[in-house]
Structures are given as structure tokens and as C-alpha cells.
């Protein structure tokens, strides 16, 4: 079968810039936005396009300037009292109006895989009937030739496609997901994965205010209160040491033992695999991995975690990884730095005991030798 299909590519525009939608909570710029600017800069340079950034909020102060310093060529600012706190419908309205006002839709539109980005991005994608890939771990620009005849209108060679790369279901595969047929090509990326640029206070960029025209139906939901629980323990993404538990703990009570172990370390936090969060052994906020948090502590102790790809992408950049698991064939031993095959409930209490001995010995070092 060498059936030739004539394709009109004029409807597909290879033009368009890269747009990052910025995120902040009560005026505090989220790190993922700076990471997206770093990633977006690489994509836009590769295509020789501009990097634009849209930021919404109220009394944004020096945030637009900061976005320029971190790599944006053009910053569009929607500053309005009703945008002070994130709400789906007003933010959605501003983004949709902004995109519709552009003579050329952006080539690529990026958001963070945060509770905000994952709330907003699908609304935008559905509004414009465009593709969206969630929780990417890599982004790139490259060519793609579509040959499948299922939909002849899609056949063709597309020189500049957004490669949205994410781990896929299954242990050891990652999928490259594309949607070059319609701009903007959208993706969200996990916080902590992309690398921000070094801020350059001399960088020049255009900062432009845009009009905000909300409609009555955008106010069907109101925010009564925003609470940040900063005092409630160390944040997982900022901990130096993470002690994480998985299904190998056998029971929810296993986290009590891990809590004792974590308490022996400075600036530590508890982490968990998805399976045990699904089982309700520990709240979602502790989940590390593809659908949880991406962390890079100095020390990561994985207890009873098999190390599936979904978990690995969230912690593989940790400084030192120690794995304890009773199954010697666990994938975790393929990328941990130190491995112990054995029973968690024998090893961890012994660890705590020895740690405490070392700690109590610190004040009286000369005694240590006499043990």
C-alpha cells in the first residue's frame, strides 16, 4: 500500500513562542515557575522564538522583574484584586482571554504540576481542544513524522514538536508524548525536576500589563481562607534527610518506627511510596515520586520500597540513598548507593540504637573507644 495522501499543512502553524504560566501563593513565587523558565528558555532558544511569561495576581510588586531576571523575554501581568488568590475560573478566564488576544497562539505552553497547575492546565487545554501532557520529567523540541492513516489529516512531517517526556505505566519505560497538530502544545512539569537559570539582574525584558475582564459566572466559587502550615514539621522538599516507607513495612504502624529513626536526624521528614498512601497508611502530603513530590535531600533512607520508576523519578537525585529491603532483587538496589537485604524491624531499631550511642558519645569522645 503506497497510497499518497495530500496534506495541507498550512493550517498547522509552525510559528508561535513559548509561554510559561507563573505561579505564586500569596505573592510568594513558586520555585517551579523559575524551573519552567529555565526549561522554557532552552526550548525557545532551540526554535529561535521568544520566551513569554504570564503572571496573574494582585500587587505583584517586583515579581514581573524577577521573571525577566530568570529568563523571560516578555512578561504579561494581570494585576487585579480578584486575582489575589488562585481560583480556577478567574485565572482560567485571564489565560483564555490572553491566548485568544494573541495573533499567533504560543507554540508551547508550560505550567507546574502543582495543585494549581494541575487544576488550571486541563481547563485551558479543554477550552482550546489542545493536547496536554501531565507531570513531565523532560522536555525537548524535535521533529516528528506521523504516518498512521487512522486520521489522514494528521499525516505529515512536523519539524518542531514539543517532546513531552514522562514515565509511563510499567516499571521501566518512559513515553514521549506529542501533539504537534495544534498549538499551544501543553505540558506540566514536576517541581524540582527542571533547572532554573542563574538570575541576571541586567537582563532586559518587556513587561506589559494586560486587561482583566472577569464575568459574573467566574465568581461562583470563593476562597474563604488560605492556610500555610509552615510550622507543622519540616517540608518534605526542604528536608536534608528523608526516611521513607513502602509496602514492605507490612503495616501502617511501621511508620512509627520510621518516625523514631527520622527523629535521630537533623532537619528530617517522613516520605512514602504511593502504594502505602493509597492504602491510607500515611497522608498524601508524604508521597514521593511521579504523582507525589520530587525531592533531593542529602540523605534518603528507603525502607521497604521496591523502587519502581514512579518512585525513582521523585528521589533519584538524592545525595546518598540507603535502601533496606528484604527482597535482594528489588529494583531499588540498582540505583541506591548502599543496600541492606534484611528485616526492617531488626535493622532500624539497631540503627536507632547505634545512632543514639554515637550521638551521646559526641560530648565525651574519649569514652567511645572504651566500648
Amino acid at each position: 500500500m503506497t497510497e499518497q495522501v495530500e496534506v495541507d499543512l498550512s493550517s498547522f502553524s509552525p510559528k508561535g513562542d513559548v509561554l510559561v504560566i507563573a505561579e505564586h501563593i500569596l505573592g510568594e513565587l513558586q520555585p517551579v515557575t523559575l524551573e519552567l523558565l529555565g526549561a522554557g528558555r532552552i526550548l525557545s532558544d532551540k526554535m529561535e522564538r521568544k520566551l513569554k511569561c504570564l503572571v496573574m495576581g494582585y500587587n505583584l510588586g517586583d515579581i514581573p522583574q524577577k521573571l525577566v531576571e530568570y529568563g523571560a523575554d516578555e512578561v504579561y501581568v494581570a494585576d487585579h484584586e480578584e486575582l489575589e488568590k488562585y481560583r480556577t475560573l478567574p485565572y482560567r478566564r485571564v489565560v483564555c482571554d490572553f491566548l485568544e488576544s494573541q495573533s499567533e497562539p504560543p507554540h508551547t505552553c508550560l505550567l507546574g504540576s502543582t495543585t494549581t497547575g494541575r487544576d488550571l492546565a486541563p481547563r485551558i487545554a479543554a477550552h482550546f481542544d489542545t493536547g496536554l501532557t501531565a507531570d513531565c520529567t523532560e522536555l525537548d523540541i524535535g521533529p516528528y513524522e506521523h504516518k498512521s492513516k487512522v486520521d489522514p489529516t494528521k499525516i505529515g512531517l512536523y519539524p518542531n514538536c514539543l517532546y513531552a517526556i514522562r514515565p509511563s505505566f510499567g516499571e521501566s519505560l518512559k513515553a514521549r508524548i506529542l501533539g504537534p497538530w495544534k498549538n499551544p502544545q501543553m505540558a506540566t512539569t514536576r517541581p524540582g525536576v527542571m533547572t532554573p537559570l542563574k538570575p541576571d539582574s541586567k537582563r532586559k525584558g518587556k513587561i506589559e500589563r494586560i486587561a482583566v475582564n472577569l464575568k459574573p459566572e467566574d465568581h461562583r466559587l470563593v476562597v474563604v481562607e488560605t492556610v500555610r502550615e509552615i510550622a507543622k514539621g519540616v517540608k518534605l522538599t526542604e528536608a536534608d534527610v528523608i526516611v521513607a516507607g513502602g509496602y514492605g513495612l507490612g503495616t501502617a504502624d511501621g511508620f512509627d518506627v520510621l518516625k523514631d529513626l527520622a527523629a535521630t536526624f537533623e532537619n528530617s521528614a517522613l516520605g512514602a511510596s504511593r502504594k502505602v498512601v493509597d492504602l491510607g497508611w500515611i497522608p498524601y502530603q508524604h508521597q514521593v515520586g511521579q504523582t507525589g513530590k520530587t525531592v533531593r535531600p542529602k540523605l534518603y533512607i528507603a525502607c521497604g520500597i521496591s523502587g519502581a520508576i514512579q518512585h525513582r523519578v521523585g528521589m533519584s537525585k538524592s545525595g546518598t540513598i540507603i535502601a533496606i529491603n528484604k527482597d535482594p532483587d528489588s529494583p531499588i538496589f540498582k540505583f541506591a548507593h548502599h543496600g541492606i537485604v534484611g528485616d526492617i524491624y531488626q535493622i532500624i531499631p539497631e540503627m536507632i540504637k547505634q545512632f543514639k550511642e554515637i550521638q551521646s558519645g559526641r560530648g565525651v569522645k574519649e569514652v567511645v573507644g572504651s566500648h
Partner: protein
């Protein structure tokens, strides 16, 4: 207080994460071979829907999209106390991405009725995108509360608490409303005695079963087949690659006793620097 809430809960049958059966070489899933289960996140959505019915009155309808075996998860929802269920099943839905899925579900929801509340799981364990809920809300033109971990209904408004980074937000929304339920919400209660009994009875009588679980297709819900399946999906999986083995230099510690084993790890990984002073 509204007299009677029309509550929808969207559920999906997913391959069992614990089982490796049914993974194709290209990274897609052979759903016929994989062991199947109710998406774990949907258990929280189901609990939320049943809780809303119990506290505020009304009716719960479960909706799913998938091949015929997905009837299993709808039976499970009936066992928990759901009143009626619909399964959208159509070969033309194969290979739908999240946008195409949301469109098909939008058509299905419109066919089934006018909900006051639509509950979805936060995400599925096979797709992990968390996109279908908000995409459906966009199609329906509804406000949404995603990452919802608790809610109550007062004066016809939903008071919800949603997770945000390092904290939470309290919101109040009008109905109709779509809610995606986080897994920090209350776990699903045990199957109701009545529900389990009902399902056991239905399982023996196909005619009777059809009164509670309706299998429908794209034509019935008046969906445009070109907007579903591969054709209606703006994204495709263009390539999959093996994730390279990392490091491979794991130092395995072995010892005569647990004590020596732990000593060896502490020494070689220089753990001392991390201890509480």
C-alpha cells in the same frame, strides 16, 4: 437545604498495579490480560458521593467508561450503596487521551441527567494525569474543587477544603460543581449489607441487572465519534524508551549480625554528619 441532590460519581477500572500482567512492549496496557480493579483514588470519590447522599439526601449514580468488564467496578459501587450505574462502552473509544475521554464522559453525563455534584477521583493509577476531572468540568462549564479533602453542604453551597502546596484553602462554591477527591479524604466504608445482598441477587438475573447498570454507546449519548478515540485525541505516544539503569554501583552491605551490618553502613555512608547534635 436542597430537597434531593443528584449526585454523580465517575469511576474507572484500572489494571492492578501489583500485577505486571498485560504490559505491551510499547508501554501501553493490554487491558484484557491485566488484572483489574477499581481505581484506588475513586474509592475516595465514591465515599464522598455516598457521604453527600447520607447527610443531605439524594441519589447517587455511578458512571464509567471502558470495555465490558468495567461492569465489575460498577457492581462494586452498587455494593457500596450506589443507586444506579451507567457504563459507556464502545470500540471507537479505544486509545482516547484525556481530552477525548473528557469529551465522551461529558456526552455521557449530559445523557444521564443534570447533576448537582460530580465527584471524581483525584487521578487514576494507570494514567496518573489528574486531567480528566477538570477537563470534564470545563466541558460542562462548572466550577471545580480539585484536591478536595473534606466538604460539607450548607444553604445549597459546598464548603470545601482543598490541598495546596504546604497548606490548604477553604472555599465555598455554588452547585452544580465538580469535585476531585484527594486520598486524604475519608477512606471508603465497608460495603453495605443491603448493597451486597442486592448485587448478589442481581448477579443471578441479567434482566434485573440491566435495570441498575445500563450499558450505553456513543450513538446513545450522541457523541461525535471523530472527537473520541485515536482520532479525537490531540496527543499520541510517539515513542517509548527503556529508562537507563542508574548507577549500578550499589554497595551491598553484608554482615554476620544485624549489629555489624548497621555499623558498616554507618561508617561507609558517613551518616554521622546528619545526626541531631
Amino acid at each position: 437545604m436542597s430537597g434531593s441532590l443528584n449526585i454523580f460519581v465517575l469511576v474507572k477500572q484500572v489494571p492492578d498495579q501489583g500485577s505486571k500482567a498485560g504490559l505491551n512492549p510499547d508501554g501501553t496496557i493490554d487491558r484484557a490480560k491485566a488484572k483489574r480493579m477499581l481505581n484506588p483514588f475513586d474509592r475516595y470519590a465514591l465515599q464522598a458521593a455516598l457521604h453527600a447522599k447520607k447527610c443531605y439526601g439524594g441519589r447517587v449514580t455511578a458512571i464509567s467508561m471502558g470495555p465490558p468488564p468495567a461492569v465489575e467496578v460498577l457492581l462494586e459501587t452498587l455494593e457500596h450503596g450506589v443507586d444506579e450505574a451507567f457504563l459507556l462502552s464502545d470500540r471507537r473509544l479505544a486509545a482516547s487521551d484525556t481530552l477525548a475521554t473528557a469529551y465522551a464522559l461529558f456526552r455521557t453525563v449530559s445523557y444521564v441527567g443534570k447533576p448537582d455534584l460530580v465527584f471524581c477521583g483525584l487521578q487514576t493509577t494507570d494514567g496518573d494525569t489528574a486531567q480528566v476531572g477538570p477537563q470534564l468540568a470545563e466541558r460542562m462549564g462548572l466550577p471545580q474543587i480539585t484536591y478536595c479533602e473534606d466538604f460539607s453542604i450548607e444553604d445549597n453551597k459546598v464548603h470545601g477544603r482543598r490541598i495546596i502546596e504546604g497548606g490548604y484553602q477553604k472555599v465555598v462554591s455554588e452547585m452544580p460543581l465538580l469535585v476531585t477527591v484527594a486520598n486524604s479524604y475519608h477512606p471508603l466504608e465497608y460495603k453495605s449489607f443491603r448493597g451486597a445482598w442486592k448485587v448478589r441477587r442481581l448477579a443471578r438475573n441479567e434482566e434485573e441487572l440491566k435495570k441498575f447498570i445500563h450499558t450505553i454507546d456513543l450513538d446513545i449519548v450522541k457523541a461525535d465519534p471523530d472527537r473520541t478515540g485515536l482520532k479525537g485525541s490531540p496527543t499520541i505516544v510517539a515513542a517509548t524508551e527503556k529508562v537507563g539503569e542508574l548507577g549500578g554501583s550499589c554497595k551491598m552491605h553484608e554482615g554476620q549480625s544485624v549489629e555489624t551490618l548497621v555499623q558498616s553502613v554507618i561508617k561507609e555512608s558517613q551518616l554521622e554528619q546528619f545526626f541531631v547534635a
